[in-house]
Subunit: 620 residues, 2 copies
């Protein structure tokens, strides 16, 4: 039943051999890898304005210079990643680059930052996507958290089924979004310049808060830090180089340039247009929606803009659903995460990573009330930390190789590292109390967690290792040893007889043991023993406290003590298995409990012991 439901939901299993690599053309790859980066234009401008408005409506004018500074940063980081693509043509995520070049600790910090980043990408993208929907349909605003959870569940489900990075699937929404967004900027700018659209007075602006004016410089930094979310996702291409057609690195590099140019254009365009139209942030409507309504009216073009925005944001979340499980599987293979994270599911995807990410992101959405701007302060920390570590790693990489023109390459990455490092400091300083502290707090915990897991696996490998043991020492397997066999019985019936027979087939040294809880039952068993138990002796254990398990464990411990040189102590457990799970509630689960205790019991009495289960299946 459960298997049928599962198959219905996630489809038939796919054989391992089908794990193919669809190589992507540049046009397809741009669609696949840029959704995360491009989607950030849906909220980055708004995040800048949300901070600036605290310093009064006049401060909103600062959005353009801030956006220009971010665009400059984008150019630097873009060039830096262009280098990474050529330095790590097989795919250079921040974890790998930092681990390879800077060492274990920076690598693990980068890994932790990335896992946090991916989780936040899902939460931020989904809440922003839902905000695009509720801007167009305000009556849904009250249900935004529920909508977010449904959207996360949908994306997780699609990934459990195994949405491969299909260029076609991604091309329609991504290019659709780019087109409608560019059309918005062009139409808006032309209409304002030709005077057919008058800049509206900003409606319902938040009143400037008292005493905030004096902090203006700090606010500008915070606005810049918030806007830096525009850079998220820019590293995606450098992680996925192997999906490109040959020559991979060249194609990937060109695609990166196209993406950076598009991103810069769209980000500057929407910021510029929102200034031109005098738009200010509102609680129930996004900046993009406000600009869209003024430029397009409320007709089909506006709805297409909102739908396109929501779609690309969901694709952006989808990207994390590919990246998070992939990184956790790499970490699991390196033994820094539980090995279950590396299990490939029926559909060739890392199920546990997908489910884990879905749960974490859902928790974030619920905790932050489905509001993008409350999640943003947490967001950029992980991203820029990973950027900085990755770029620094690349500097080291070039220095180690010292190939042709390594100084220039190291210089470009160095500039990237310094720029992203400075931005990181700005982000942490300006958003610490607004939520960045949560990430700062989580990072070392994650790293300690990775270490603890690694050292556990090392300890296990050490204990299981055959190092120092030779096959000769281990001896001939066929040399028979006499086992001491104990069969706990509760009576003589069809459930216990097969166990006695099996025990007797193992060894001549079999003892049946019965705990005397109800004297009449014990007497009945004694009477019948000779006929059925034959040459197997029956030992009756006293149980002054009516426990069935205690006396048995004592007896076994005693046996170990009395005959320490004997072979393995073997316990044969008769167990009748009820026809349904419900029925099992009607029986004392003694055999199951004894089994558990004997397998997992440790301490001085736990000699190596073999537990044998002889099931007898009831038919009804």
């Amino acid at each position: 039943m459960a298997a049928a439901v599962r198959r219905f939901l996630i489809g038939d299993p796919i054989p391992t051999a089908h794990e193919l690599y669809h190589r992507l053309s540049k046009v397809q790859a741009l669609a696949v890898f840029s959704s995360d980066a491009l989607s950030s234009v849906a909220y980055a401008t708004e995040e800048i304005l949300l901070v600036l408005v605290l310093a009064g409506t006049g401060a909103l004018q600062l959005s353009l210079p801030i956006a220009l500074a971010i665009a400059a940063l984008l150019a630097i980081v873009g060039s830096s990643y262009y280098q990474t693509i050529h330095g790590y043509p097989s795919g250079g995520g921040a974890y790998i680059v930092a681990y390879d070049n800077l060492g274990k600790a920076p690598g693990l910090i980068a890994a932790a930052a990335l896992l946090i980043d991916y989780t936040l990408t899902v939460a931020v993208s989904i809440t922003a996507g839902v905000a695009a929907v509720t801007s167009a349909v305000p009556s849904l605003y009250a249900f935004r958290v529920e909508l977010c959870l449904v959207a996360i569940a949908f994306v997780a489900w699609a990934n459990l089924r195994g949405v491969r990075e299909s260029g076609t699937l991604f091309a329609v929404p991504t290019y659709g979004f780019v087109l409608i967004f560019l059309a918005l900027i062009a139409t808006g700018t032309i209409r304002v310049l030709t005077g057919s659209l008058a800049p509206a007075l900003s409606p319902e602006m938040r009143p400037p808060m008292a005493g905030v004016q004096s902090l203006a410089w700090f606010l500008v930094l915070r606005a810049f830090a918030s806007g830096c979310t525009a850079l998220t996702g820019i590293e995606a291409i450098s992680n996925g180089i192997r999906a490109f057609e040959k020559p991979e690195a060249d194609n990937a590099g060109r695609t990166l340039i196209a993406m950076v140019v598009l991103l810069a254009t769209m980000f500057l365009g929407i910021t510029f247009l929102s200034r031109l139209l005098g738009v200010a942030p509102l609680e129930h409507e996004t900046i993009v929606s406000q600009v869209g309504r003024q430029v397009f009216g409320t007709g089909p073009l506006y709805l297409a803009l909102q739908a396109g925005t929501a779609a690309i944001l969901i694709l952006a979340a989808n990207t994390s659903f590919a990246d998070f499980p992939r990184l956790s599987s790499i970490l699991a293979r390196d033994r820094y995460l539980p090995r279950q994270m590396a299990n490939l599911g029926d559909r060739l995807v890392f199920n546990n990573g997908i489910i884990g990410l879905g749960l974490l992101a859902s928790a974030l959405v619920v905790f932050f009330g489905g509001q993008t701007h409350r999640l943003i302060p947490l967001y950029a920390v992980g991203v820029f930390l990973a950027f900085t570590l990755s770029q620094s790693g690349m500097v080291r990489h070039w220095y180690r190789q010292r190939g042709q023109g390594w100084r220039v390459k190291a210089g470009v990455n160095g500039m990237g590292a310094v720029a992203t490092g400075v931005v990181l400091v700005v982000i942490v300083a300006s958003k610490l109390i607004h939520g960045a502290w949560i990430v700062i707090f989580l990072l070392p915990i994650c790293v300690l967690f990775f270490h603890a897991i690694k050292s556990h696996y090392a300890a296990v490998a050490d204990q299981l290792s055959l190092e120092g043991l030779s096959p000769e020492e281990w001896g001939d397997l066929a040399s028979r040893r006499r086992h001491k066999v104990v069969v706990p019985v509760s009576g003589i019936h069809r459930g216990t007889l097969p166990a006695l027979r099996f025990a007797r087939s193992l060894s001549k040294d079999v003892t049946a043991v019965m705990v005397d809880v109800e004297p009449e039952v014990t007497a009945g068993v004694r009477d019948k023993w000779l006929a059925w138990g034959q040459d197997i002796p029956l030992v009756v254990l006293e149980s002054p406290y009516r426990s069935t398990i205690g006396p048995l464990l004592d007896y076994l411990a005693d046996l170990d003590r009395r005959e320490p040189d004997r072979g393995l102590a073997v316990v044969v457990l008769p167990e009748f298995v009820t026809a349904t799970r419900w029925h099992s509630l009607l029986h004392n689960q003694t055999a199951q409990l004894v089994k558990k205790i004997l397998v997992y019991q440790r301490g001085h009495t736990a000699k190596d012991r073999v537990i044998i289960d002889v099931p007898y299946h009831l038919r009804r």
Copy 2:
């Protein structure tokens, strides 16, 4: 750890041999067995008034005639139970009497009625006891549900520790309550008659409801039905005859008479005095508390009255905590309830029954908001159903025996049966829509449930029975059979080697099986196999869908098909056991899962199969 907490909470285990019977003197026995019956005077009068007030304050005058009718009923039922005591000197609960004399169905109905009755006794007594407390300390009224839950947990805990029916423990609160209550009635009556206490005008009476006057006759019946809760607990002595000093039946009969006289006096007295003082029901204060404040003032005597009332009500609940587990253990021994209900715990009490009752009663208290009068309509149905069945059973009993004077005895019990039967009809008719339907609905469900359990146990006994099998047929245990042994391995290490050795010691026919999930690992095992696996062949199973368990199960099923005549298929599972439970989260629990599936799997492939667990304990 868990064991230490448990020992701290419920004390050291008590050996079975200590199960003594403390015989009780009549004075002690009256205290032990009458708390349930006597405690009902704390709420019975109030329940009458609560119904009468619906017909207007004038109708409150009817409380005295109604109380007299109930006292008459009490005399009839008392005489009837006096007969039961002599007819069943070894203890005649309604279940036993009805089962013996009327048959299975009436017996089970009586049992269901009693179990419901005991649960309601706890809920009603505890809520009424808490009402006595909150009447004296009104600020606690808002916390009445919490107080009820704490009180239930306390009584359950005391019973888990094993509060035996200690005469001394019960004597103080029971006789204290009787004394202060009789003092209240005497003082009140004298003060009113001597004119030192003027009947107060009833404060804050509920306004008569429109259109209710015409239903007055029906309301009188409902008031009578509600007042009949005064009779609950009267059967306690007939259940516990064996606890009396010899001659048991005579002493029990005399104690019953004393109890009935006391109960009638106290019930009539408080009803009379409440009329004399013109008291009407209030939401936040009980009738007894109102009467007590008027007679005693708010001094120590009043507080003693409230404390005594609360104490005897808690003792009444305690009675059910002895009766419910005892009856469920009898039902469990008769195979009508899960056998776990008959397990004697560490402290010689039926733990599961105590815990079950505590949970059920707590659920009732929460569901009905901790208000006694909302529980009352459910209460009397079970009690009077059990009365009627028990008395009818006694009629049959005397008729069957036809001993000396059997006609008189049968006549007395017959009168009891008719009286309680008529009252049962009145109760059901007048309180059906107020909650009695819940009990009417639950009774047949309980009986069906009893039957289903009984037939399951019968089916199991039938399947386990050796009927039709002789020891000769079963054969000589020592005749060796060759087992086909399969050892699933995941690698060659210290966790798997002991399993291979054990398997080889069982049989020459051992096959190691490895599922090929990671080709490199498989290749490594193949390389080392000859040295370590020696003469055991290694079979590598393909796993196109990466499942480790599927191919193994298919292989075993195939084996069963190919060699159906072979001995048992034995599966030896190497299992490494982690040092802590936390560590086990870091490993694929394949061995455990395989073990479960192999033991519980059924269907055409599930030939009898033996599962052997060879644990290897990790130390860290």
